[in-house]
Symmetry: D2
Subunit: 133 residues, 4 copies
């Protein structure tokens, strides 16, 4: 709610559709949040030694998505190339983390929910990339 | 939704109430997001020179709340003193930014919405601090 | 000093040369730091209204470089595609910010130093990308 | 080098000594970097299950120090209470992480170096807090 309200109150009014933008920013935050918790949850599983790669992709994905949420929230004239490249990094991070978490989804509920957040975020980033042309 | 689901799927089950924790984490993300957009919106106002302090408190508040959201999302055994101190930094940042934005709330809708996000977040952090004892 | 020491003490010993990696991570932090200060310095110039794009590219570049520094610091088995994509986002952000700052380099010393930090970082990221193959 | 150069080129010239400020900002970045690598290194040790708290305090400390470095880099008029509270959070995080890492310093070189970075950073934050009055 707040995200789209904030973007709509911005003095810069041209550019990409504000609902699409807000949906992507929200998906990026939700994904970063899920990944941060999933990394910490994996760390507490008995089989932690087998979840190393999962923790690593979680932490990477959280970092990459947080940066993308910030860049996407700025409407000041700047280089669209930066937003585009950062969204592409998100697509890579969400794919890597979503694939890794999906492998543990049946055993760990946090991996199942996190994989879903990654898929949603990957799709939102792809849609925004398409809209940016 | 995802935040509380993730926290509930965590193997560590003791500690603070998960609904309160999720509500605080969500308020922290919403506040950081509002502040990031408000800083960028202020930058594009004609009177930008008079909004310098507002932009500064926005950026500080976004940084402090993002860090707090990460620390609060971890349930692994650690030092509660760190979460407590980071929440106290949030209370200070939300108060400074909320007060500053409130001064421009009648003129700028983004400052009005941002001030509200700061108030909500300050209150959530205070409640969590009380629950932590 | 600490960066290369830390990377050398890591139990994972294969992969990219630790000196190159440390040099890139240090360049990423230095660039993020320069950009954060440059944005705040621009905000205090009398001609702030003409420095909007500079502030925006500064803030984007700081976010993108900070995320890259974290991803590059992890040696746990993961997806190299993520590091590669994040470094490419850095190259785009450093180019955009370096070009923008270079335009104000004669007038503002902080833009001159920041443009240099962006160039150094862009080159370090490009070298690491080449080494990653 | 760049940190102090950037702070000295800032149009705002009053406030705390720029060398002390730059030294603290550099210590914050060095600590955040050491903690990020230490967390990833711990994750790859055979005894990872015994290093859970160490990984958690590492990640918290990295988040808290990164936020503090950003806040401390801004010289625009704002609330000193925010910087002060964030530095106090750093002191708590560096103490927690330094104490934890010190326990594994004889066994793991990365914990030894990281504990040192935490001590240096804690001291720098304490000095800056004293200078802020």
């Amino acid at each position: 709610m707040t995200t789209v309200e904030m973007l709509r109150s911005h003095p810069v009014t041209d550019g990409v559709d504000r609902e699409l933008l807000a949906r992507t920013v929200d998906a990026l935050h939700a994904c970063a949040q899920a990944c941060t918790t999933c990394a910490d949850a994996c760390l507490n599983e008995e089989m932690v030694a087998e979840l190393r790669t999962c923790i690593r992709t979680d932490l990477d994905c959280a970092d990459v998505c947080t940066a993308a949420a910030h860049v996407a929230s700025r409407l000041t004239e700047g280089a669209t190339a930066v937003l585009r490249a950062q969204l592409e990094a998100c697509v890579a991070a969400c794919r890597a983390c979503g694939d890794e978490c999906a492998q543990h989804a049946e055993m760990h509920e946090h991996c199942r929910v996190c994989a879903e957040a990654c898929r949603t975020c990957e799709q939102a980033c792809t849609e925004l990339l398409t809209a940016l042309g």
